[in-house]
């Protein structure tokens, strides 16, 4: 029956990751951004707490948790620094393609070495965002942007299957619009040997659904962070003899931003519950992603707007949230592809 509460385990996870993100990540977000990386100490603490292997099966040393746990963790991390969240979760959404197609064997073969070796990163790229040629078991091509400074394992997801590449890739560092703490680069593959490949359109759709939900939940966090920061600012900043939040024009805007965040959260949780219960969550995940991206167009710029000129300056995090929400919205195929999948109930 309908229940909007979290069980004790999930509440504990949320409390823990919230403390971690606020105490260990928040003080360093501008450092991480300028360094294009998260420092090793924070990374080790994240791993020690098991957050880098949240969904990895217990038999492989992970926590074996599901999509709901993932989106809760991502919301908390995204609210502080989504770039750091990507840097710290070194499997990222590549996990979903390996899990969907290769199951336990693929996770043991490809995912476990990533989490067991400090600094390694796996990346998931969509064939639709790239130009690839495959010849004699080798893949060549380029991806214009990935939010990572390393690519020790590349999983290429198409509409019909997936390929895994370990060697033969090179990265060209980029400045990046947002998510700089994760690193930012273009990826080139030159005759890179494909070490595993699978074909199954249904599993490809499942993997993409989870990857989209991963992105949507990070976006949710960014939107919450921007919305809350600008709300608190508006309650403290005075103009014309009262807090600017008490001018109805701003009060209503803040209320609408709060509502937009909640609408994203509910759709993200809805899709996560569907996926965890074994239902086909592809349309729900796509809808959650679309909602998150649409909300980001509203909240990102208005978070800056509420702070006025200060919002435009890098002294405050709202400009960062505006950039990062845009970057996340372009990731995992972007909103137009997601809208295609969200509308499949009409077929």
């Amino acid at each position: 029956m309908i229940d909007f509460s979290l069980n004790e385990d999930l509440e504990l996870i949320v409390d823990t990751i919230r403390s971690f993100s606020n105490e260990r990540v928040l003080p360093k977000i501008r450092t991480f951004e300028s360094d294009r990386r998260v420092d090793g100490e924070v990374s080790r603490e994240f791993a020690m707490a098991g957050f880098d292997r949240l969904e990895l099966p217990e038999s492989l040393g992970g926590s074996g948790l599901g999509m709901l746990a993932r989106v809760l963790v991502n919301e908390e991390m995204g609210a502080v620094d989504p770039g750091a969240a990507l840097a710290l979760d070194r499997l990222g959404p590549a996990f979903y393609a390996l899990e969907a197609f290769g199951g336990l064997n693929a996770l043991a073969q490809f995912a476990r070495p990533i989490v067991e070796t400090e600094g390694k990163r796996a990346v998931l790229v969509l064939e639709s965002d790239s130009t690839f040629d495959v010849e004699h078991g080798r893949v060549s091509g380029a991806v214009p942007w990935i939010p990572s400074g390393r690519a020790d394992l590349v999983v290429i997801l198409s509409d019909t299957g997936a390929r895994v590449v370990e060697h033969g890739s090179s990265l060209q560092p980029l400045r990046g619009s947002g998510l700089r703490a994760a690193g930012s680069a273009s990826l080139r593959l030159e005759h890179a040997p494909v070490i595993a490949q699978w074909q199954d359109p249904r599993k490809a759709a499942q993997a993409l659904a989870k990857a989209r939900l991963y992105a949507a939940s990070l976006l949710l966090g960014v939107l919450r962070g921007a919305s809350e920061f600008s709300r608190n600012y508006a309650m403290n900043r005075e103009a014309f003899g009262r807090p600017i939040a008490h001018h109805q024009g701003l009060a209503f805007l803040i209320v609408d931003m709060y509502t937009a965040v909640e609408s994203v959260r509910l759709l993200v949780h809805d899709a996560a519950l569907k996926i965890d219960s074994g239902e086909d969550g592809t349309q729900h995940a796509a809808a959650a992603f679309v909602e998150a991206v649409e909300a980001s167009r509203f909240i990102g710029p208005n978070g800056v707007q509420i702070l006025g000129g200060h919002g435009f300056m890098q002294d405050y995090p709202v400009e960062k949230a505006m950039r990062e929400s845009r970057a996340l919205g372009l990731w995992m195929g972007g909103i137009d592809r997601a809208r295609d999948d969200a509308g499949k109930f009409l077929e």
């Binding site: 909007f4 508006a234 939040a245 009060a251 609408s263 759709l267 519950l273 077929e347």
Partner: protein, 399 residues
């Protein structure tokens, strides 16, 4: 965390769906075509009683459980309410029964008052209505600024004023009228009074002509030196407070009114969602029948309807769930109300665009839904009022 509706409730929804499709939609369409509420002796109302409707939730002596009142709280009533609104929102108000005042009477009335005013609704011998009169001309959402006055005269109260947009008032056995017994105290002077039909001074009933929701009567009426017995003042607290010097007890009348509105916002929001879901289903049917689904612009529009509707529904369910948990839901109830009502209006508006000139003919269900749904962003606090309520909670917006 779980967003699924359980099997038992699904069965009740299915029963509601069958009743709604067979009885409620045709009755609503008939009223809409006639431009007037169904008359009191319409056979629909008898069938509604036979179906188990029109009964009070009060468990008085000899009570038979009312349909849909076997427990489950706000969440269940919201879910069933959404389904019935899908078939016709206007008929949900037109249906016989205690209706809107029931919650406040159950919460605040004395046992003697419950016996007297809810008793006839335990096993009604005929379709019976009750009514709740809050809104006044020139005083919509500003409930603290009512002009209707109540003054003590021995063992009676004398009520003077005017009310408007009151559901089912002319056909009600009694109307629970909100009036101010001590204007100097502002909102804390407010009380609620049972005014029985036929009481001298109660009159001037005028059934308004509305844009939509024509199935139920929205009525204005006047109270001219309307004399009612002192024990028609709702509850004990109000009476004792009237004798005292105000303080905490004296604001109970206002607070009980406002708590009723808070509790009912999820229900109003759910009815907006019911209308919007009907508009979505009609839109999909129209798009399929006219081979429009493959057009990206049409598909994107329908996808938007579906997505926003789901978000709104979850928002409303959450506000209802919080109410059932006894947890504060002021922000969530207002958020669900404003979001659902605005999304529903958007959906009906865009659905009209989907119809094109067919929508302009005035005979398509979507056209009716477009007219009906507008009221949901007005009743029980406009979208702007809901934002003010949220603003008070979220940023301390001053009163």
């Amino acid at each position: 965390m779980d967003f699924e509706i359980d099997k038992e409730l699904r069965r009740e929804i299915e029963e509601t769906r069958e009743w709604g499709e067979r009885e409620v939609r045709p009755a609503g369409l008939e009223a809409d075509r006639n431009g007037a509420p169904l008359p009191i002796d319409h056979p629909y109302f008898r069938r509604y009683l036979e179906h188990g409707g029109g009964r009070t939730r009060w468990h008085g002596p000899g009570a038979e459980p009312a349909r849909g009142s076997s427990g489950g709280g706000v969440l269940k009533s919201v879910i069933i309410g959404e389904e019935i609104s899908y078939w016709d929102r206007g008929m949900t108000i037109a249906n016989p029964g205690v209706g809107l005042p029931e919650g406040i009477v159950l919460a605040s009335a004395t046992e003697e008052q419950k016996e007297r005013f809810l008793g006839p609704f335990l096993k009604p011998d005929r379709p019976r209505w009750a009514s709740f009169a809050l809104t006044e001309p020139g005083g919509g959402s500003d409930t603290a600024n009512f002009k209707t006055r109540a003054r003590r005269d021995g063992k009676h109260w004398i009520l003077t004023g005017a009310k408007c947009f009151i559901g089912n008032a002319s056909r009600a056995d009694w109307i629970l009228v909100q009036a101010n017994a001590d204007p100097e105290k502002g909102r804390s002077g407010q009380r609620a009074f049972f005014v029985e039909q036929g009481t001298p001074g109660l009159g001037g009933f005028k059934i308004e002509k509305k844009m939509g929701l024509k199935a139920y009567e929205s009525t204005s009426f006047t109270l001219e030196e309307c004399r009612i017995p002192e024990n028609n003042l709702l509850g004990e607290a109000g009476r004792s407070a009237e004798k005292s010097d105000g303080g905490e007890k004296s604001s109970k009348g206002y607070k009980s009114t406002m708590s009723t509105l808070n509790a009912s916002r999820p229900g109003v929001a759910a009815s907006a969602i019911g209308i919007a879901r009907a508009a979505l289903d009609e839109s999909i049917a129209f798009a399929r029948a006219n081979d429009l689904v493959k057009q990206v612009r049409v598909r994107d529009r329908l996808e938007l309807f579906q997505r926003k509707l789901r978000a709104a529904w979850l928002m409303v369910l959450k506000s209802a769930w919080l109410a059932d948990q006894g947890k504060p839901n002021i922000v969530e109830a207002s958020m669900g109300k404003v979001y659902a009502a605005e999304i529903a209006q958007d959906i009906a508006t865009l659905a009209m665009e989907l119809l094109g000139v067919v929508g302009a003919r005035g005979d398509h269900l979507i056209e009716k839904l477009y007219r009906d749904v507008k009221a949901l962003n007005i009743v029980e606090g406009t979208g702007q009022i809901q934002r003010v309520i949220m603003g008070r909670q979220l940023v301390g917006l001053p009163r």
